[in-house]
Amino acid sequence: MLRQVEGSKAVADAVAACQPEVICAYPISPQTHIVEGLSQLVKDGTLPNCEFINVESEFAAMSVAIGSSATGARTYTATASQGLLYMVEAVYNASGLGLPIVMTVANRAIGGPINIWNDHSDSMSQRDSGWLQLYAENNQEAVDLHIQAFRIAEEMSMPVMVCMDGFILTHAYEQVDIPTTDEVKAFLPPFVPRQHLDPAEPVSIGAMVGPESFMEVKYLAHQRMIDSAAKVQEVAKDFEAHFGRKTGGLLRSYRTEGAETIVLALGSIIGTLKDVIDELQLDGKSIGVVGLTSFRPFPYESVAAALKGAKRVIILEKAFSTGTGGIVTQDVARAIEGMGIKDFTVIAGLGGRPITISSLRNYLTNAMAENIDRLTFLDLEIDTVEVEINKERAQR
């Protein structure tokens, strides 16, 4: 049903429509409204066969999720920022054990300094954790991705992270079509675990694996991640068949036909970018945008195909690797290796810094003239940092 609703509430209702059996969470902004919504639904009986566990930390949240998923229960949790980092040990364990947990990451910066506003540093820090990572462009996609995530996770027996921009999406009221439980049931079959803890058929899960086999275990995880790309596409197609919406999948291109310059970005900034692209094209500029939904698995072929023919690609990132630059850039660069496409990176919106249309317009205009550095920090207060840099260097 189409509703004007807060993103968090929409996601809570969508997760509820997937009929999870165990939900556990520890509160952290901006994830709170999602779990408050779910807690409400469990308590008021809307989700009769679901346990909501108020845990004492994110580490415990992921641990409870591991236990319940290993027991064959459809399991959900949500976190953000510091919380995600606090649960990291368990995050890796969940993927290592192949447990199909679905987790929302309400993207937020990582301290210090402590900062509660949006960027992608948190989920990007888990790039190598063995989890799938799907980024939502808007709240409609956030809703849809959660429903797709459970199916991908359970069919691949891999955990999936659905990343949605904190505040920008979680706290935004916009119109969203939230499928009903019955509609979801038709798309998402009951959870049949690959393996689970069962006294009738006991197994020992979580062995210690030595040098003789560890490499193989990791290689298998690698292949599984690669194979999951096909599953992400397949599920998106089937979702479209059920719900008539083109959401999810690996990536989506917007007005890139014949574009010399293509911007590649993840998450909610894609919307703003589309407006900018429309303006620029009105001015006859040859520019389009590629929205990357699936960062893990990273769709090398799809990216290469989407950027084919372009002269340059601008990767807009809300996180970066200190001392080197873009994180997504590294993968994109590999994808377009030898295609004669130049790559530029713009780091924007760190710690909630607004990414304005005007800044983007300026930057992209220069970019099309290749009148930019390989790496740019959008709207950086250059005077301020230069003063500080000089001070620091003087002190060394």
């Binding site: 004007q4 807060e6 509660i116 505040f167 935004a172 009221y173 916009e174 407006d275």
Partner: protein
């Protein structure tokens, strides 16, 4: 695209106002996008919320820097921060105050005559609702001043959001505000 910026203090339901407006717009068949000035502001601190209104899908997510409408839930803010920053030349201003434009020394800040409505929303809230919460009330004024949403849509949004008793009070207050502004506009003309 029609952009609204709402100023107030933590606890005055600024975000709720934006949400109510968005719902009202949605009920009226248009697209809306409401969002707060994300932060950790506590009760009393100045806060801002935004609402975009459009006939088409709304994709941009930047904060509203050049609003078409300013709703100022607490007139005391006028002296403290630049609430009028970026206001469109032909923009609307709705202020919750028992004072006049002169008393508020608006002339120093904006070109008057501007589409301006000053009303004692808090008093109206107290009268009809029994609580000094002006947010829903001001939406009645918004409806009257801009005509972007009909009062009925505002009322239905209020009824969706609140429990019947509180909703009724709010609707009454919003209606009163609507009439108050209508009369003001009439006198100006």
């Amino acid at each position: 695209m029609f952009q609204v910026r709402i100023h107030g203090r933590g606890g005055q339901g600024v975000v709720t106002a934006a949400e109510l407006l968005a719902v009202a717009v949605f009920d009226g068949g248009k697209h809306a996008q409401a969002f707060p000035s994300f932060g950790s502001e506590r009760t009393g601190a100045p806060v801002v919320a935004y609402c975009r209104i459009s006939d088409h899908e709304i994709r941009a997510r930047e904060p509203i820097m050049e609003p078409d409408v300013l709703i100022i839930q607490d007139a005391s803010l006028i002296k403290q921060i630049d609430v009028f920053a970026g206001l469109q030349p032909r923009g609307y201003v709705i202020i919750n105050s028992a004072e006049t434009a002169e008393e508020l020394q608006l002339a120093d800040k904006i070109k008057v005559p501007h589409s301006l409505a000053i009303l004692p929303a808090t008093e109206l809230a107290l009268t009809h609702l029994g609580r000094p919460v002006p947010n829903a009330v001001l939406l009645g004024a918004f409806s009257a001043l801009t005509g972007v949403v009909p009062l009925e849509a505002v009322a239905s949004a209020i009824n969706e959001k609140f429990k019947p008793k509180i909703a009724a009070g709010n609707v009454a207050a919003a209606t009163a505000a609507y009439e108050y502004v209508m009369n003001q506009v009439a006198t100006h003309a």
